[in-house]
Amino acid sequence: MVKGTIAQLDHDEKQLINHQSNLDRNPWWAQTMIYMILFILSIITLLPLVNVLSISLSEADAIYRNPMMLVPRQFTIEAYQYIFSTRILLTSFGVSVFATVMGTLLNLMFTITGGYALSKTQIPAYKYWMWFIIFPMLFSAGLIPMYILLKNLHLIDSIWVLVFTGLVAPFYLILMRNFFWSIPEELEESARMEGASDLRILLHVVIPLSKPAIATIGLFYAVGHWNDLFTGLFFINDNTKWPLQVLLRSIIIDMNALNTRSLGALTNEAGRIIVAGENIKAATIIFSIVPILMVYPFLQKYFVKGILLGSVKG
């Protein structure tokens, strides 16, 4: 099989997932211990998430009495109602959705065109064009020069800064190029023989063959945009234009954007505290995990391919 083709990728992926070690089997007690360790590691990863979920669905009163819970106690969705009633969270959510959708679309356009161009090693001065792409990976001018540039471009305090500062990442460009290399040259040649234009070949031959690679790279870009804290933190001061992560930092870490401190706590008729800092924070955490959770099955489907793609000899 040719290194890096879709068939090879699928094969490598299956091999990785279904890999059975050819090492000797362990004695039963050692094997049991290994299973136990792995089980505990999974539990350590999982329980904090379950705990946050339960806290977000419990009355503050119950949380203060005993916060170590794995199922909600005195179940309530007031904390969620509260965070949805604050306009600012939904605004930020909208900003993040915009940055993620628009950003990923532009990322893919740049990465596909650029990666395809760089897969053609016969172009003049190929080596120098490659260096042009690699250099920014090694050395950057730093935060302040970037800030000055964005100020001159009037991108400070604009939500477009979230899209424009990372239009194409050298690493993914190289990954894309490696994948295009795996598409047999003959396919393009035969299409050309039949009179297809360059553009047609790219759109109707190359891109359809590259769907797995495009999906992989697109998902990674998308998660990158969704989780991006710094671009918003550095370059957006206006909190009505903050992406979710910057607002979340303010809520979860500083505890001030939702003004929960001045709010004190919301109590019900019986005087029980229903909503307080703890379950509001927990509800905000869950709210922003949900989108990641929704794409996680797809991420999982593709990320092994992504890793394998990266290790294709370039």
């Binding site: 999974s42 990863t45 920014p136």
Partner: protein, 299 residues
Amino acid sequence: MSLRKRYWKYRFIFILLLPTIAYFLVFSYFPFYGVVIAFKDLQIFKGIWASPWVGFKHFETLFASPKFAQLLENTLLISVYRLVFGFPVPILFALLLNEVRIIWFKRVVQTITYFPHFLSWVIFGGIVFNFIGPQGIINLFLTNAGMEPIGFVTNPDYFRPIVVVTGILKEFGWSAIIYLAALSAIDPQLYEAAKIDGAKKWRQIWHVTLPGIRSTIIMLFILSLASILDAGFEQVFILSNPSVLDVSDIIDTYVYRVGLLDANYGLATATGLFKGIVGAALIITANFIIRRTGEKSLW
């Protein structure tokens, strides 16, 4: 063929390359013009060009201040602790997973342990604080039990261990994938040969498994060494607070604070430039070493 004709022949390719080139020109190369701020006293109303030159003044200020030693110490210590305690974890995890014969169990463990990698540090930090914050569940539990709460977040002694441990918890699963890929590529015949030679389990691991992933280990180790000045900006930024600043202030957080918050552009640019140059030198050296060891180099 003349050069012009060759470019003309590949005009379609260059049209496709153009947006990428334009992007890097504007957002990666053009900012280098701003590096002159490191050698000037930027007066924002005069603009970069009209501001007076001050030579190496900002660098002298930086290197002479006790802050610089502190920044370097904090940055290097966090990175070194990460290497010593964090680097082996995904390798051990991959080796343990490699022993699992029940495929569904392996998949479930992987599905769970990879997940935190996809959460931002803001979210993961929120989950961490849910545990160890002043109002976190550990301290609520302690106070309810009539004990003194522990200042995990405010006591500087706890900061570095917390950074290292939470860093491991978030990434150990994901980092293991690359080792799992290397493990699955080991030729089964090598194991058979070892068994015929009478090698027991540990010998098989020592002579077949570990050599099989050695090049991956070496490459990732060299890369970690090369990025030793990157102590994990996002994580440190999220987990730190003013009361632990003496141990948590790393080069990146300092550049952000001094540059963007205090608007001391000259000093911040100089500090960033220092880090950029050393970092580039380290990664180029690393690539050189990797190439010399006969491995696939980075570029």
